[in-house]
């Protein structure tokens, strides 16, 4: 694989692999020396195992540095810094109405584009708006700026205007589990279907999601559905807690990035809330994992070992099974860390309570991987997105792609590390709040740091692997 091909593939993660395959040949011709994750990991003579080990060492070192910070009051004060963003009622109403209209308009554009737009993915407005504009661009804005999804969400805007409904009770003991199941189902559909390369397929999934969502939101009421069960709204809700702009009782506030995660009264105590954050983290990893040569080799072995069943059926079962088993493994590892933490500091807090307490610290890690994967993808395809949005149904010709500077790949690796550093800081602040004294909070983090180092190294290995399109699909 040439470096340029590797680059093109490296900037096409979750939900965009097929689109990336389409873009690859254009990029290979037009862009000879773009930096990407794969480039950054394989550059020069630094062997890849050393890059992987350095990622682990950085996380370990940042934990050691944080353990030197024992001024509990000072840490609390830094995380509590807050500036009020001045707003007026009129401005607020205008922004709310405008954003809602924009959201619905976006949904209409996607549906029209999927039905009547160009069949070519990188010229199709639906594909570009969904993957580049929304899943890459908008998602980045939810953790880098603030979560605007409750306003943008076109399904919420529509569901609130449906007459009647709200008769069915969504049992509160289900907690966040409907969102967990929904998220894993969406990831499975995204991985095994050509959602990023066939506009019609994307259209069908958007229509199906719309139908299910509107029906469910009408039945249980929009507030209950979008705050507790909708997987998309839950993803943005979780990401939004890491954002600097936070909405609270006093209106809009500006906080230090990630500091709202250390708020002691904001832990999510619903059943399944921890599982949801773990599922979000796992789905990011899973998406990278299925594009590694190692995964494809293993899948080939499995598919060839089952001769009677058609290969694509075996493969789909393999993907779904790997998704579920991997999620269970991640969940079990996090529980194991919580159990070890419990015996470490000799506390009587239940393992489930410890898990819940430290779950917010996982959010910056997921956000770090998301921005590392998607910033390059978003920037390089944004001219194509702009062209498609300005002229949705006319063929814009050969799509324009932005050329990223060579150092961009290094920047992407830095995002991964930054996410972990923020996670260590948040976990440290949370530990000081819940365990007495200073040494117990620090010791409580040992098992979590071990898991985090292992996870960083696994992820660094995954992003450093050459891109290999997921097989048998």
């Amino acid at each position: 694989m040439t470096p340029a091909l590797a680059v093109a593939d490296a900037v096409t993660p979750m939900g965009s692999r097929a689109l990336g395959r389409g873009v690859t040949e254009v990029l290979a011709r037009a862009v000879a020396h773009v930096g990407g994750l794969v480039d950054a990991v394989n550059t020069g003579t630094v062997p890849s195992w050393l890059t992987v080990a350095t990622g682990g060492a950085l996380v370990g070192a940042s934990f050691l540095f944080t353990s030197l910070l024992t001024d509990h009051e000072g840490i609390r004060a830094v995380n509590g810094l807050r500036a009020v963003v001045p707003t007026t009622d009129g401005l607020r109403r205008a922004v709310v109405a405008g954003t809602r209209a924009l959201g619905v308009l976006g949904l209409v554009l996607v549906l029209v584009g999927a039905a009547f737009g160009s069949p070519e993915p990188r010229r199709n407005v639906a594909i570009l708006v969904v993957w580049v504009g929304w899943w890459a661009g908008f998602t980045m804005s939810t953790y880098l700026v603030g979560n605007a999804w409750p306003l943008v969400n076109p399904w919420r805007t529509l569901a609130e205007r449906l007459p009647g409904g709200g008769d069915v009770d969504l049992p509160s003991e289900w907690g966040a589990w409907p969102a967990v199941v929904g998220l894993l189902a969406l990831v499975a559909v995204e991985v095994v279907s050509p959602l990023a390369s066939v506009p019609r397929a994307l259209g069908v999934v958007v229509v199906a999601y719309s139908a299910v969502t509107l029906l469910a939101a009408w039945a249980v009421g929009p507030d209950a559905w979008f705050e507790r069960a909708d997987p998309v709204a839950s993803v943005f809700g979780v990401y939004g807690r890491a954002a600097p702009v936070q909405r609270d009782a006093d209106g809009l506030g500006l906080r230090l990035p990630g500091s709202a995660l250390a708020d002691v009264n904001a832990t999510d105590d619903r059943p399944g809330a921890v599982a949801f954050v773990v599922a979000l983290l796992w789905s990011t990893t899973f998406d990278g994992l299925v594009t590694t040569p190692a995964w494809n080799d293993a899948l080939t072995v499995v598919v060839e070992a089952v001769p009677v069943v058609p290969t694509d059926v075996t493969a789909v079962v393999g993907y779904v099974l790997a998704l579920v088993v991997g999620f269970a493994l991640f969940r079990a590892l996090y529980r194991l860390a919580a159990v070890r933490c419990r015996s470490r500091v000799d506390t009587y807090l239940a393992p489930a309570a410890i898990e819940r307490w430290f779950a917010p610290a996982l959010v910056p890690i997921a956000a770090g991987y998301h921005v590392a994967h998607f910033s390059g993808y978003f920037l390089s395809l944004s001219p194509a997105l702009r062209a498609a949005v300005l002229a949705p149904l006319s063929d814009p010709g050969v799509p324009q792609l932005a050329v990223l500077p060579p150092w961009f790949g290094t920047l992407q690796l830095a995002f991964v590390v930054l996410g972990h550093l923020l996670a260590v800081w948040v976990a440290h602040a949370l530990a000081l709040e819940v365990f007495p004294g200073l040494l117990r909070p620090i010791r409580s983090q040992y098992p979590f740091v071990v898991v985090m180092v292992a996870y960083t190294m696994t992820s660094a290995w995954v992003v450093g692997q050459p891109f290999d399109a997921p097989g048998y699909l």
Partner: protein
Amino acid sequence: MSDDAPGSIQAPGSDLATCGDDDAAATCRYCGRPFATPDAHDLHVGDVHADACTTAEREAYERALEAEEDELFYFHLRVVAALAGLYTVVVLAYMIALGSGIL
């Protein structure tokens, strides 16, 4: 979260579930949280319920804090040594990998 005893701040994590606390050495009389050692209890009361606690509890807190400070100093010595060790290993690994071509 439920309200605490009057005059004390809401204890962070006071609503967290506990288990296996039959052999608890002490239980916080403000928020009911069990602790395995008396010093963990003293540190908790003095920190979280600083506004409500009695003079005796305050003194116990300061004693526990002082005892922990000594321990913390030696802990930090080990942390600094670990950081220096880690730094040395990483720098050496890069020097060997980039300079010699052995790795």
